[in-house]
């Protein structure tokens, strides 16, 4: 059984894209482009440091789920980061995970690395949020979410 420290607190995934770094950075940090490939609709806010962005999933059946993204850093063309609780209605004062997009120039174009960290500080209050893997991306147990909100309001 592996107990390496890297596994307990963070996720890191990487991809190589055949496009210049500025182009990729634009796709990640422009709200309209980001929304297209990430699968959300921005309801309010914009991608500026310190801004809270309210967004809704565009995945079929889950358009009613709204969540917050708190933009942290924007350093063209290498870094974009935010804090959130993935896919959840976000109460104040709850610990968040940090999502970082880091971009590097490589011979074929751009390497993009996503690091999500801070899982060890997640609150027990999010016990009711269930995730289901699906080719469409994020999905929710909508019934569980409704029940959680009802039980805990």
């Amino acid at each position: 059984m592996e107990t390496s420290p890297a596994l307990s607190d963070r996720i890191r995934r990487t991809i190589e894209i055949k496009a210049p770094i500025e182009r990729v950075f634009r796709a990640i940090t422009t709200e309209s482009e980001f929304s297209t490939w990430f699968g959300i609709k921005v309801v309010s806010g914009s991608f500026r440091p310190g801004t809270e962005v309210r967004a809704r999933s565009t995945h079929p059946g889950y358009e009613h789920i709204e969540f917050s993204i708190h933009i942290e850093r924007l350093q063209p063309p290498h870094l974009f980061s935010w804090r959130w609780i993935p896919g959840a209605e976000q109460p104040k004062d709850e610990p968040t995970t940090l999502v970082q997009f880091t971009l590097e120039e490589i011979p074929v174009g751009t390497r993009v690395t996503i690091t999500e960290s801070g899982f060890d500080r997640l609150s027990l209050a999010y016990r009711a949020k269930a995730y289901k893997d699906n080719t469409g991306g994020w999905e929710y147990q909508a019934n569980s979410l409704n029940a959680y909100v009802t039980q805990n309001s």
Binding site: L7, I11, R13, R121, L124, A125, R127, K129, A130, Y148
Partner: protein, 136 residues
């Protein structure tokens, strides 16, 4: 075992954030919620505790004496860490003669790993969509 003020306030914080039980989840969903693994992640988020888990992983059932040997950590500290790991369901202990022996349990760690793997697979999909979008 006397608790340090820091440990005491940590337990209180845990109690304060306890919420209503999770409604029944359909069999199709499979894995439990991410934050059901929160105590596991919290237990893992410490270098000493990770070292203890690695030690238990290679040694099997072990006493506190053996876990402390060769380290600069006190027996009391190791005991405290083992109790944190135990309350997250990561280790369990049993008495053998005069000694308390500690060992790893399998499931909570695997569950936490599964949660992270699930989120990681979401990010992989997102990155694929980014690539497709930009390379169009």
């Amino acid at each position: 075992m006397p608790m340090s003020p820091r440990t005491r306030s940590k337990s209180r914080r845990r109690e304060r954030s306890a919420v209503a039980p999770l409604p029944p989840v359909s069999a199709e969903v499979g894995t439990a919620s991410l934050s059901g693994s929160a105590p596991v992640f919290a237990a893992l988020g410490d270098r000493t505790r990770l070292a203890l888990l690695r030690h238990l992983s290679s040694e099997g059932r072990t006493s506190i004496t053996r876990l402390t040997r060769g380290t600069r950590i006190t027996r009391q500290a190791v005991t405290k860490h083992l109790h944190v790991l135990a309350s997250a369901g990561l280790v369990t202990s049993s008495r053998e003669g005069r000694e308390q022996l500690w060992e790893l349990t399998g499931e909570p760690l695997l569950e936490a790993r599964r949660q992270l793997d699930l989120i990681a697979s979401h990010w992989e999909c997102a990155l694929q969509r980014l690539k497709a979008h930009v390379e169009r």
